[in-house]
Point group: C2
């Protein structure tokens, strides 16, 4: 069952435990187009497992004509590419919903962009040669835990078409260094444009299957629905979001921002898993009026795009917001769109600033 | 003013914001004697600053006979040592206090052990040649914010004797790589045995002064007191603590542990900034009875020491605890010792496990 609680009710100890063991990206790290290791968001469902790479293998099996068993060395001898990719937790924004779904209580910080190094998934699957009866490809991690009353390994599937066509890679490196334990050492899946739950860490098995995967993280978790007993629709690709690098300096406790009046350049980044970012707007009056920001570069086609906006800051209490629109016509709502699991809330950011 | 709230009251949005931008070490990372980069706890008072190392200098001045201005290259040409050191936030355990002091709401995860690379502070101060009138040495970071109503840089002092004798280093590397931004790039202070607030990040100025430093982080923050209007005593060195690597597998939301009955080896690490760890005890019955753990190695004299304990786990609900004692005779209390700022709460860990 998925529990919810009133948004005016404080965060419970269970939610706090999750907030403390999972890590958000402090928003000043929007400064970097590639998020430094240790600042990218992290959501670890169960525990980070210990992996001995000397005995670890990636097993590719199920409905394939040629099962494969590969060491990390075997994988690293294959075609190697670098994929800069923005990743966001599907639960980003959950703690802004009312009633609040009880799970990892993200505000807006469950994001990051990394340059992943790995080998294309598609060519590996082509080598394994999926049987015609294979409709999905299942990715199984070494991380284990209990959820929905069932002991399980973390696993998620893609349709065979998505697995072959989404541009996914199997990554063993990040930002030029070997994957650290918390990012899935020795190997993880990276599917550009999809929410974080798709990118299975500590990957050790890929299985071609003949029916849609009905495991917990696919059939129960990560579905958009209003009621517990409806099947809902699956959470898939990231909806657009723009975030702003908080200007000025913070107060320690409230994180309220303070800055001097005058001319400032507001900066941030925007992304979508459903199209290119074609527009970012900024509001400096609490979402009453909007003006276009100047779009900048992205470190790659699947990574966030920089934006900037010149602001003449007058003394007083100001509320700053930004709003992204993608080439498929998706844009951010001003208010959250509620769902039971608290997924995919891309309501615009509101940043309180005291201009002095 | 320091606010508190009832422990039964939920965590506020302000506390949650802090919990999400600061990072705890997931306790399964107790597995590593040196915490991998990205898993060490992080407490960033203000924002992580952007630093251009080409123009950055460390200025050593104030009451010295020979002021110094050093580039990172200059520093790296000096004597270089590696210092494995366990670091803990002074606020670790704060969220277990009742009433709860309102600040970063740590449970038990504000810890980590890193191998810092840098140059001894003492020899730099000897070269600068402290004037006889110098009683303290002040360390100023580039991070700025508002606290107690005052705009300030983060800064903390040590007495001249502590600065010369505590074995402190100025570190530019961690675990064999350059300091990442979140750990203080390009340079931070590391004072072995002291709580985290002492280890000033983004260090850019060292100033010898002729009176005890009265800045916010010294005279107001980080003091043990019961009432707002008493001066209190300063928070200094870490009191002992042992933590256990949670056995079995977790439930996602509750983090309750599940494991099979039978023989298990419980493992963890213990440290103190006030003496060597001489004893770790384990209780498997909710702190009713205790038995000695076997002590293992430490990666250095200022770093946590491994311990292990053989446990015959019977089916049922079990509560596991561990308790460290140091060579100065300090040991952990069973219940928290309350203070207004919520510092230095080293009450024993209690881990709920369902043995099946």
């Amino acid at each position: 069952m998925t529990a919810t609680t009133s948004a005016t009710e404080g965060i419970s100890t269970e939610e706090l435990q999750l907030a403390l063991r999972n890590s958000g990206m402090p928003l000043e790290a929007l400064r970097w187009s590639i998020t430094p290791v240790g600042l990218h968001y992290l959501l670890t469902h169960y525990d980070i497992p210990a992996v001995d790479v000397a005995t670890w293998r990636l097993e590719v099996g199920g409905l394939v004509k040629r099962a494969l068993s590969l060491s990390l060395d075997d994988l690293q001898r294959r075609e190697t590419i670098e994929l800069p990719s923005t990743m966001e937790c599907a639960g980003n924004g959950r703690a802004r919903l009312d009633p609040r779904p009880v799970s990892q209580p993200w505000l807006t910080e469950a994001i990051g962009t990394a340059a992943w190094t790995g080998t294309p998934l598609a060519s590996l699957l082509e080598e394994a040669d999926l049987d015609e009866s294979a409709v999905e490809v299942l990715f199984t991690g070494l991380d284990r835990g209990v959820e929905g009353g069932t002991s399980q390994a973390y696993e998620r599937s893609l349709t065979a078409a998505e697995a072959l066509e989404a541009g996914a890679i199997l990554a063993w490196g990040v930002n030029g260094v070997p994957l650290p334990p918390q990012h899935g050492y020795p190997l993880r899946l990276v599917v550009p444009g999809w929410y974080g739950m798709t990118n299975v860490k500590w990957l050790h098995r890929i299985t071609a299957i003949d029916a849609p995967f009905e495991g917990y993280q696919q059939a129960h978790g990560y579905r958009i629905r209003q009621e517990e007993d409806e099947p809902g629709t699956p959470v898939t690709r990231m909806v657009p979001r723009a975030l702003m690098l908080p200007p000025g300096v913070p107060e320690f406790l409230t994180r309220r921002r303070f800055l001097e009046s005058g001319s400032h350049v507001l900066e941030g980044r925007a992304w979508s898993g459903r199209g290119e970012i074609v527009r970012v707007e900024v509001s400096v009056d609490g979402c009453s009026t909007w003006a276009d920001a100047v779009l900048g570069d992205a470190p790659g086609p699947h990574a966030w795009r920089a934006w900037s906006f010149e602001w003449q800051a007058d003394p007083g209490e100001q509320v700053l917001s930004c709003r992204a629109t993608d080439s498929a016509g998706n844009t951010q709502p001003l208010e959250p769109e509620w769902n039971l699991g608290g997924y995919s809330n891309n309501a615009v950011q509101r940043l309180s600033v005291t201009v002095e």
